[in-house]
Each structure stands twice: as C-alpha cells, then as structure tokens.
C-alpha cells in the first residue's frame, strides 16, 4: 500500500486544538457518565416516595444505616445491591446471544444521545473554546433521532429472544408503539427548525436568548406533541401497556431478572432524562436563564466560565421539572388501551403534527417574506 507511517508524536504532547478537545472530551464524558449513573437510584426513590405521598401512604422508609433512614433513599441502594446479586435465570430455549445482547441495545442509545445535548454555554480556557456538549454535530436533531430509533431493537430482541410467546407479543406491541410515536416526535420539531433555522442544538439554545423567544412561546403546539410523544417513546406514564403489571405479565422483559432488568431500567431512566433535557433545550431555552440574556450574564459575572455553572444548573432544573412531570403523570392518569394508544399516535398526533408544520410555515412566510 505504500503508506508512510512516519508519525509525528510530538504534536500530541502539547496543548493544541486536538489535544485540548480530547482532554475536554474525556473530562466532560467522565462527569456526564458519573451523573447519569447516579440517576436511576435517585429516580427510583422519587418514583416510590412521591406516589406514596400522593396516595397518602408512607412509601419505603425502613432501610437505614445506623438509624439514618433518609426518608427511604437508602432503599434504592439496597435494591441495587439486591438486583446485582440475584440469581440470573436464563430460560430454556432462550437465544444464546440475543438474550444477553438485548439490554445493551436499550442502554447505549440513551448514553449516546445524552452526549449530544448542550449542557451549558461554551467555556473559554486559555483561548480555547470548549463547548459543553460531549458530542457536537451540525446535524444535531437528525443524529438524536437516528440513535434513538435504534432503541427499538432492544425491545424487539428482548421479547423475541425470551422464547416466551407473551414476551414476544409484548415486545411486538411495545416496538410498534415506539415506532408509531417516533413520527409525530420528529414532526413536532420541524417547526423549531423553521423558526430557528438550524438543526444544531447549541445554536438553537443560543437563539433563545430573550425569554419570549423560548420554544414554548414560539411553538406551543410542538411542545404539546413533543411531551406526549416523549411519554410514548420511553414506554412510560399512560403509555406503559407493554410493561404494566398485570398486562402480559411484564411484557418484553418478563424473562429478564436481576442485573439485566437493571440494565433495562438504566436505559429507560437515562432515556427519560435525555428526552427531558431535549425538551428543555428546545422549548425552554436550555441553559439560558429566563429574562437574563447571555451577554448580560457575561458582563455581570466577568467571564463566560462563571456563566457555565449557572447554565448547567438551569438546564438541570428544567430537566428535573420534566422528570417530575413524568412521574406525576404516571401516577395520576389511567393507562391507555393498546388500540387507543395506536389511534392516538396515527390518527391524532400525526395529522396535528403535520398541520402544525403547515401553519407554522405559512405564518412564518407571511411574517418574513415581505
């Protein structure tokens, strides 16, 4: 092949664009993964404590260390330990490879999408600009949809590989539900692209500089559609027929126990977080502080590096709001029947999404193409 393998390693040992980006990526990724892995125990605790309070009972409050009960927070820790050390029963006839592979398909799309979200404004360190998203693509939205459409395989494979016809049925229905709601999800973000003119998430956040330019004011119908489809995509809240207790047992993850079950739930909670972050980024201004523009913050605090933590905090607060909505809705609304669910997705959400695009386009054209 005649390639000259003379590698110049000295340029890897100094701070230049490449090495700074690489180091920044490593740090950002480590922090992000650390944070995401803390999420499921916390969310499980909230998910058990909050409905308890809603239903006027106590929820878990027994597990404790040396009299510190912490309102049941340690219950999550105990549950995690239990799940990991439980016996893993692989059913007879389960596919040797895909039974073990299916949870992986549920985990990695969530982590990959979590990396595409801008968590804060750019840092400026010694002249290098460091964006606060682990992965920065200029086809931002499409990348996110492409990766989240791979999550369907986790659900489909899990049911099929379990050699249990109820699991198979459950996973077929769950997969059909997920793909049915992916279209309105995609369509609800088209008005956002129309309004802000870019697919890049970082630029969309930067474009929401003033409070009334937030997506919630410019594209409210999109927000509605997005939130509803958000619930359907993660198989949660009123759309959790495929994994509800009492329906098809536990649906596609009936035959999964201990750590693999934990893997599915890791994937589900991280997806929840990621979609919440996405909703906050697109509709609620991401890391922008309401009523205070980015430039005002920079002049107030002196340097962009001080604005970044505030930005991250704002985004996390907004995402926390959406996750609160997730849990609130789950314990408030009754479950949809499957045919109602599919009716909603295809015959209600899709036309409304399309009409939303049309109306937004016409309004924008009238306003801008004078």
């Amino acid at each position: 092949m005649g390639m000259n393998l003379g590698i110049d390693f000295s340029s890897l040992l100094q701070w230049n664009d490449f090495t700074v980006d690489l180091a920044a990526f490593a740090v950002k990724f480590a922090i992000l993964v650390g944070g995401l892995l803390q999420l499921p125990p916390l969310l499980v605790w909230i998910e058990r404590r909050v409905p308890a309070l809603m239903q006027r009972r106590r929820g878990p409050n027994r597990v404790g260390i040396f009299k510190w009960r912490l309102y049941g927070l340690l219950q999550s820790l105990a549950d995690t330990v239990k799940l990991i050390f439980k016996e893993e029963v692989v059913p007879d006839g389960a596919h040797k490879v895909f039974y073990h592979l299916a949870p992986v398909f549920c985990v990695f799309p969530a982590f990959l999408v979590a990396c595409a979200i801008p968590y804060g404004p750019d840092l400026a360190i010694y002249g290098y600009k460091i964006p606060l998203s682990v992965v920065r693509m200029d086809v931002g939205f499409l990348f996110i949809f492409a990766i989240s459409s791979l999550a369907v395989y986790g659900v489909a494979l899990a049911g099929w590989a379990s050699n249990n016809k109820y699991s198979l049925m459950g996973s077929l229905r769950a997969s059909a539900q997920m793909i049915s709601y992916e279209i309105p999800l995609g369509m609800s973000l088209i008005p956002i692209v129309l309004i802000y003119g870019t697919l890049d998430l970082g630029k969309i956040v930067e474009a929401q500089n003033s409070f009334f330019q937030w997506g919630v004011f410019t594209a409210p119908v999109s927000l509605l559609i997005f939130v509803i489809c958000m619930f359907a995509e993660t198989n949660r809240a009123p759309f959790d027929l495929a994994e509800a207790e009492g329906e098809l047992v536990a649906g596609f993850h009936t035959e999964y126990n201990s750590a693999k079950f934990a893997a599915f739930f890791l994937g589900e909670y991280v997806s929840m977080f990621v979609l919440s972050c996405l909703a906050s980024t697109v509709f609620f201004g991401g890391w922008q502080v309401p009523f205070v523009s980015y430039d005002a913050l920079v002049t107030m605090l002196g340097s962009p590096n001080f604005v970044a933590p505030i930005g991250i905090l704002m985004l996390l607060l907004k995402a926390a709001f959406f996750m609160w909505v997730y849990i609130w809705v789950r314990w408030t609304l009754p479950r949809f029947r499957y045919d109602q669910l599919m009716f909603l997705g295809w015959k209600f959400m899709l036309p409304i999404g399309l009409a939303n695009v049309v109306v937004t386009a016409i309004v924008l054209a009238v306003l801008r193409f004078k």
């Binding site: 390639m3 000259n4 393998l5 590698i7 110049d8 390693f9 000295s10 340029s11 890897l12 490449f18 596919h95 490879v97 895909f98 592979l101 693509m137 200029d138 086809v139 499409l142 990348f143 949809f145 492409a146 990766i147 459409s149 791979l150 369907v152 395989y153 489909a156 494979l157 049911g159 099929w160 590989a161 198979l168 996973s171 077929l172 997969s175 059909a176 793909i179 697919l199």
Partner: protein
C-alpha cells in the same frame, strides 16, 4: 491534525473490511434475526463510511431510515412469522451455486478493475470539498438547496413513489372487504 494523517486512508480500509465482513455474516447466518442484526451493523458501518467522506447528513439519514426503520420492518416480519433457524439452512453450496458464485466474483473483478482504470480523480476537492461545504452553510443546507432547485422533479417523483408504496402495501396487507363478503 498533523500527527495522525494516515488515519483517514487506513480508516477507509478498516471500515470497508468491516462492511464486507458483516455482509458475509448477513448471508451466512443461520438465524434470520442474526442476519437482521448483522444488517444493522453493516448499515451502521456504511454510515461510518459516509461520515468519513464528510457526508454527515447522509450518514445520519442512513442510520435513521435504513438501520432504524427498514431493518425494524425486517425484524417485525421475522417476529410475526416466527421463523425458526431450522426452517432455513446455512451456507452449503451445491455445484451449480458454487459455479454461479465464481462467475459473479469474476464479473466483479473485471468490472472493478475497469472502473478503477477509468475512475475520475476524486482526490482534489472541487466544489464538493468539505471546506467548501462548511462555507456554504453545512451539509444539510447544501443538500437541501440542491434538492429543491436542481433536483426538484426527482423530489416530487419521490413523493409519488412513496404514495405508490403506501397504496401497494395496504392493498397487499388488507383483504378487500367486498371480496370476502360474497
């Protein structure tokens, strides 16, 4: 990035090798679901190839539509029909099939070498170079502008094709009520 300048060329060979490997596995796997998953992996690597050519939009669409929708359809069909590996055989060639395979491979070699001999010089970036695309506003922008101006008719024809596909598949999958009532 000066230090690792040989990586793009090596990367192309690595990705192509992986694509070939997964394609062979798609055909050689005994279990249809294994085939489907290898197809997903294959299409993922093709998307990687697009990304290496700086066609980021096409790479994203490849994963979104091809790996994320079309192969999902395949998997659905396999799950619905519940195809078992016993119903399909693995790679075992009869003499005739081996002969056909050899002739096909020979054909590939002949056509490939002819193409390589007369290939245009694609190493100098013209107005399709990645720097030019960045200046013009990014991948999606360039593709969109070209499609809605120069390639408008193919775009509209694509919508007619999609309509055809919708009608055809509904006709196949749903029996006509009038036929069954009599």
């Amino acid at each position: 990035m000066e230090a690792l300048y040989f990586v793009p060329e090596m990367l192309f060979y690595v990705i192509s090798g992986l694509i070939l490997l997964s394609s062979i596995m798609v055909v050689a796997a005994r279990n249809p679901v294994t085939s489907a998953i290898f197809l997903v992996v294959d299409l993922f690597f093709v998307a990687a190839l697009y990304a290496q050519l700086d066609a980021h939009f096409t790479a994203a669409i490849q994963v979104l539509v091809y790996a994320g929708a079309i192969v999902v359809l395949f998997v659905f069909v396999i799950m619905i029909l519940n195809l078992k590996p016993d119903a399909l055989r693995g790679i075992r060639f009869s003499l005739g099939e081996a002969l056909v395979l050899l002739i096909t491979l020979a054909g590939f070699v002949i056509v490939g070498s002819e193409l390589a001999r007369t290939a245009p010089d694609l190493t100098t970036p013209g107005n399709l170079g990645s720097a030019a695309i960045e200046m013009a506003g990014g991948n999606t922008y360039v593709v969109a502008m070209r499609m809605f101006t120069a390639f408008l008719w193919p775009f509209e024809m694509a919508s007619v094709l999609i309509l055809l596909a919708i009608v055809a598949c509904v006709m196949i999958a749903k029996k006509d009520k009038r036929v069954t009532k009599s």
